[in-house]
Point group: C2
Chain length 135, copies 2
């Protein structure tokens, strides 16, 4: 347990070492955030530049207003997206990736590409699995 | 709607084009699968080679038996992991990445690296956000 306590202490001091293979490491929450399907799509939509709420919602087709609000708030809290409010009537609110958020673009773009490239193979695998299960 | 129908038809034929920005595209489910924290950690644990269930469970510290079973089954169904049962007493069950599953290793490894590298910055951002919210 000495090793575990040392790890806890170093993590509390913000020094790491972070290790998502350990039980309570907060990097697991970060994985939840960045691997989330809506994060992947929202970060992708913002990779081209600043967008308004309604523009993101139009790009990420089918996302609910609540889910978009919630995901953007989480990304803002984590310092990955900035929200700028222009005091006009009606108020204009714009979202933009921070420099840290922008470093996610290639990573999450790769996930999208992987999903698109492997979709057909996955569908075939599922059909085969389901047939062998029901056999 | 003609465009949507064409997309549906081509997708049914397994030809794509797959686009996770469209509402019902199955690539969104694939994003859920590959971006999941347990998938990230399990695929990482299997990147070194074949492992038994209990070995994966020891590596991915804190995962419940149920969640590990469920995630491995999903990965097997999607053709990303193979399960081999050796008929002995007690039976030995081994898990291994398929070639398709192995292509995930660098991608999901990058997510882990990103999480570890940015953990401290994210904690700072959260503290700042929470303070400004309560102010």
């Amino acid at each position: 347990m000495a090793g575990k306590e040392l790890l806890d202490e170093r993590q509390e001091m913000g020094e790491g070492p972070w290790d998502p293979y350990t039980r309570d490491c907060p990097t697991r929450q970060v994985l939840d955030r960045i691997g989330d399907r809506w994060t992947v799509l929202i970060v992708g939509s913002l990779s081209g530049g600043t967008l308004r709420f309604s523009e993101i919602r139009k790009t990420v087709y089918g996302i609910s207003q609540k889910m978009l609000t919630q995901t953007l708030r989480g990304l803002e809290r984590d310092g990955l997206v900035t929200r700028t409010i222009y005091p006009q009537i009606p108020p204009k609110v714009e979202y933009q990736l921070t420099p840290a958020g922008a470093t996610l673009v290639p990573l999450l773009g790769s996930l999208q590409e992987w999903a698109k490239e492997h979709m057909s193979v996955i569908i075939d695998a599922r059909n085969e699995y389901d047939q062998s299960e029901s056999a």
